[in-house]
Amino acid sequence: MVRGACTLTAERADTDRVLDALPGLWQGFSATLIRDCRLRFRRRSELANPLIFFALVVTLFPLGLAPDSTLLSGIAPGLLWVAALLAVLLSLDGLFRDDFDDGTLEQLLLAPQPAGVLVLAKIVAHWLTTGLPLALASPLLGIMLSLPGHSMGILMSTLLLGSATLSLVGAIGAALTVGLRRGGVLLSLLILPLYTPVLIFGAGTVRLAVEGAPLAPWLALMGAMLALSLLAAPWAAAAALKLSLDG
């Protein structure tokens, strides 16, 4: 519960309603999370877009290379990761744009709750509707690329951890470009270099899993990247949103 920072003198307290408690942090977070999820489910066709894109890109590679299972299983970890990364990137532009256009974004930043917490709620909603489905669908595509069965679990867990980091870092880029008319291409220029560590560790860990090497330190590193972006990204994105609304 957030308490009012204002100290009211007794004299003022007579004329003003004393704010003994402010609207709750959790109340604001959950309301925003539920609202965003509800909005995404109401546009169901858009909800499926990243998933279809993911499947399509993965399908293109055997067609472009060769239907050779040893070749495919060799490149499968990197391929699945690149396709997932691009699918997340594709969905990022819409993260704040609708809210920016209809004015709910400015109302979000005007709420008494700290802006970073509410932005985090929006990012979580984004991850629940893009990263999570991608991670859940990845074993299916892994089978199609003849990825060894014992590495499916690692594929899913790296995608779960990594796509959350992608959503968080990507939110900064989406927030910086939300006020620009042609922000989409710029967004990929800004974000892709920042995505490289996640890609390298994600795909690298899956490759090690295929070879049967010990993985705990690499998963821990991915967790550390998630923790760092969880701490920093919502606030950076909130600051970026404020300036996008000013500009």
Binding site: R12, P23, T104
Partner: protein
């Protein structure tokens, strides 16, 4: 309730929109801000509502710098800008319910929801609660945004061009709410660049803040 500006100034890309603005907003006051296009009315409202930090001078809420009591200020201020802040894919009720959750002190969802029904009825949207906003008319959509006024959590209303897209009867109704809000001890700051509204000038509570478009501001009490 008091909001003070001390030597408030705003410079955008090396051009001063206004400077040295000393101004007090007190309980029961209704301020109308006038001035030509581009003179800085909207910018002033965005600074007053704490959205823009890019200004010189000080803003005091209840005598304290705004930066030190942001949460308390945001909880007692309601801002409606040019963009309505309404999600078209959601129903009127869902829209209002989100605002309720963000601003209400009430923890019980059912009670919050009842208040939403009541507020929607007050703006004449009874029976449209469960309709997605995109299926409503432009005027009705505007009323969904204005229903936030009827929820009644905030003392200070900051309204940027609230009269656009509502019919004559709606304008009168809105003016009525604004005056009732002031009489109950709240305050209103409102912009309008044309002389929309008839009730307000004759009510006696109205005060004007006029931009001359040259970087000067005049306060008429």
């Amino acid at each position: 309730m008091q909001l003070d500006t001390l030597k408030l100034g705003c410079e955008r890309d090396e051009r001063w929109l206004f400077s040295d603005l000393d101004w007090q907003i007190r309980s029961g006051e209704l301020w109308r801000i006038e001035g030509p296009n581009g003179s800085g009315k909207t910018t002033l409202l965005r600074i007053l509502s704490g959205q823009m930090a890019d200004y010189t001078g000080t803003l005091l809420w209840q005598g304290e710098p705004l930066a030190r009591c942001r949460e308390a200020f945001m909880a007692s201020m309601l801002y409606i800008g040019h963009r309505p802040g309404i999600k078209k894919a959601l129903t009127a009720l869902e829209n209002l319910d989100w605002y309720q959750a963000m601003s209400a002190f009430e923890k019980r969802r059912g009670v919050r929801r009842d208040a939403c029904f009541q507020a929607l009825a007050e703006v004449g949207l009874a029976g449209f609660e469960e309709t997605p906003v995109e299926n409503l008319s432009a005027g009705q959509q505007r009323r969904v945004a204005l229903a936030r006024l009827a929820l009644g959590h905030q003392r200070l209303w900051i309204l940027d061009e609230p009269f656009t897209a509502i019919d004559r009867a709606g304008v009168r109704q809105l003016e009525g709410w604004m005056m009732a809000h002031c009489r109950a001890g709240g305050s209103v700051v409102v912009t309008s660049h044309h002389d929309s509204g008839e009730l307000l000038p004759s009510s006696g509570v109205l005060k004007n803040l006029r931009f001359d478009g040259q970087g000067g501001v005049h306060v008429d009490c």
